[in-house]
Amino acid sequence: MPNLGIEVLFKGSNMLRLLGGLWVSLRISLIAVGFSILLGIPLGILMTVNSKIIKAFTRLYLEVVRVMPQMVLLFIVFFGTTRIFGWNLNAEIASVIVFSFWGTAEMADLVRGAFISIPKHQYESARALGMNSPAIFTVVILPQTVRRLLPLSINLVTRMIKTTSLVMMIGVVEVLKVGQQIIEANRTSSPNAAFGVYGTVFLLYFIGCWPISMLSKYLEKRWSNA
């Protein structure tokens, strides 16, 4: 049995440092999710409006986000904009900007999809029952939309958390970077640390994302026939 380099994790405060790194990733994704929800819902509602100009702009925005890898966006914001405009940008703020930009597009598309998936007869039946427009929206349309929207947006949260692993490439010290530092620091005393440390990081991400995915799946199944 080869040495798996797990002992490194129990040395000093290494495990705590890894968890601290995980918190950096989570913090970035949670802030970005917050912005995405705040900006994505109004944008999604705006996208259901029948206007050629709005449609063209949102289409362009969504297509850019759909086609460009998040890593390219990170590079553009972190290296490109700082060069062109000459400002100073903290790597963490740059990641929050990129992930909010990406998440807003995804969220808006989900909101739009949820709204247009409500059949027209729901509006018409409510109208025939004598409900006024605000009542139709709050009592009939909104509950159904939320049920369709919630599982998918929870899924977006896990994708956001997973994608934050990229921020190490622009120098944010998150869980993977901390892992790298621990491996470097213990290069001589435990040469096999890479196995234990990267295995642990892998499991940490899994423990973080899996319950959220399960929740999303559960809600989707429960509300699917609503």
Partner: protein, 219 residues
């Protein structure tokens, strides 16, 4: 913007794009094969194999590709399994994509109504004919939108290959920025080349989706 610089960088980016495409293409083909295989195991609830596939799917869907690649590339050699970088990239992409494709195909298979199988059997078709001519075509047409989304997602994910020192587009851009500080030119080329790869896929995907939309039964 310095056009001379852009001109001199073009061959480097072109080479990097070919690498991205080569590994991406390999990874996606194997992802589709793994996906079909796992979807069938899950759909027919084959004992033991079904559970193993389930664990594999959850593990790879709930962790980032970057972490998976780090594990494959840096950790496996420590327990005596050395992996070459390009092989590692293709393998990582195939394993990640396989899990996504498996879920896509499985939900496609599940969406085919039971009455379809029963009707086909009562027409005198045998099991394999039912699967090949009745279930698969319908299941595939349902899976197409998320199949296309998966392919775009996987091609985008290839951008993390630079982390295991594969000289792909991302690596080239980062390297050139570090060497000559022509940030604007490098990033512009990066965007252009990724657009060159992904916009055709996106357009073709849209067209495919529109073509198969009316193949669903009962709509």
């Amino acid at each position: 913007m310095n056009w001379e610089v852009i001109g001199s960088y073009l061959p480097l980016y072109w080479k990097a794009m070919l690498l991205t495409l080569r590994i991406g293409w390999l990874g996606i083909v194997f992802a589709i094969l793994i996906g079909i295989f796992c979807a069938i195991i899950r759909f027919y609830k084959i004992p033991a194999a079904g559970q193993i596939v389930g664990v594999y799917i959850e593990l790879s869907r709930n962790t980032p590709l970057l972490v998976q690649l780090f594990f494959l590339y840096f950790a496996l050699p420590k327990i005596g399994i050395p992996v070459r970088a390009d092989f590692c990239g293709a393998l990582g992409l195939a394993l990640l994509g396989g899990a996504y494709m498996a879920e896509t195909f499985r939900s496609g298979l599940e969406s085919v109504a039971k009455i379809q199988t029963e009707s086909a059997l009562s027409l005198g078709m045998n099991r394999s004919q039912v699967v090949l001519h009745v279930i698969f075509p319908q299941a595939f047409s349902v899976s197409v939108p998320s199949f296309v989304a998966n392919i775009i997602f996987l091609l985008k994910e290839t951008s993390v290959f630079s982390a295991i020192s594969l000289m792909d587009l991302m690596f080239t851009a980062k390297d050139l920025i570090g060497l000559y500080y022509k940030t604007t030119e490098c990033l512009t080329l990066l965007v252009v080349f990724y657009a060159l790869i992904l916009i055709p896929v996106s357009v073709l995907g849209d067209r495919l989706e529109r073509r198969v939309r009316h193949a669903e039964f009962g709509n």
